[in-house]
């Protein structure tokens, strides 16, 4: 699973550079199955653990809310706006990407 993730990350290195050169605070790529952080631009390991919190609680509750309202529907993207930042969360099958801007 990690090898697949690394492949994907290497292939998208140019995209990652473009995204991080704009006004982002950072990004986190997490592995869904292990619920662990795969890649991040944050230096603070505490921040990584906290973003796991975001993935675990918020993404799964949003997904269940969407399915509850319509069983054929599914969550494609999530944007949490706060006063300081905006978290862009993209859950995929194997991994979840979060960008903070």
């Amino acid at each position: 699973m990690n090898r697949i993730l690394e492949d994907v990350i290497h292939k998208n290195a140019a995209t990652v550079e473009r995204i991080t050169s704009e006004n982002t605070a950072g990004y986190v790529v997490a592995d869904n199955t292990a619920n662990a952080v795969a890649e991040t631009s944050f230096d603070n390991t505490g921040a990584q653990a906290i973003v796991k919190h975001l993935h675990g609680v918020l993404v799964s509750s949003c997904q269940s809310v969407i399915r509850d309202l319509d069983p054929t529907n599914k969550l494609c993207f999530l944007r949490v706006a706060t006063r300081k930042f905006e978290y862009l969360v993209a859950p995929e099958d194997y991994f979840t990407i979060t960008v903070v801007q």
């Binding site: 906290i50 973003v51 919190h53 975001l54 609680v57 918020l58 509750s61 949003c62 809310v65 969407i66 509850d68 309202l69 319509d70 054929t72 529907n73 599914k74 969550l75 494609c76 993207f77 999530l78 944007r79 949490v80 706006a81 706060t82 006063r83 300081k84 930042f85």
Partner: protein, 97 residues
């Protein structure tokens, strides 16, 4: 004040992509809605729990930060949740591609 609110709702509803607007008070009861009642109540209940969870998550991530909006993009719609002091608004729209 309520005339302005009506007018704003009408304006938003007239936008081509908007499917529905629900204004929900703090007890989880939809006070104004453009969708039918059962659907609104269903949305109100689920969005209420989601709003609480999102508020908790943002507070946990940073105690000084505040949750201002949530946007969920799904296959068929885009659902936007905007909490205010004594109520919150849910707007469902068709995403423009």
């Amino acid at each position: 004040m309520s005339a302005e609110v009506e007018e704003m709702l009408k304006r938003f509803q007239a936008l081509k992509n908007v499917v529905g607007i629900i204004v929900i008070d703090n007890d989880g009861i939809p006070i104004k809605t453009t969708l039918d009642n059962t659907l609104s109540v269903h949305y109100a209940a689920t969005m209420q729990t989601l709003r609480e969870k999102a508020r908790q998550v943002v507070l946990d991530l940073d105690g000084t930060n505040e949750f201002t909006a949530l946007r969920m993009r799904t296959l068929y719609h885009e659902v936007m949740l905007c909490p205010k002091d004594d109520y919150f608004i849910v707007v469902i729209q068709k995403p423009c591609e």
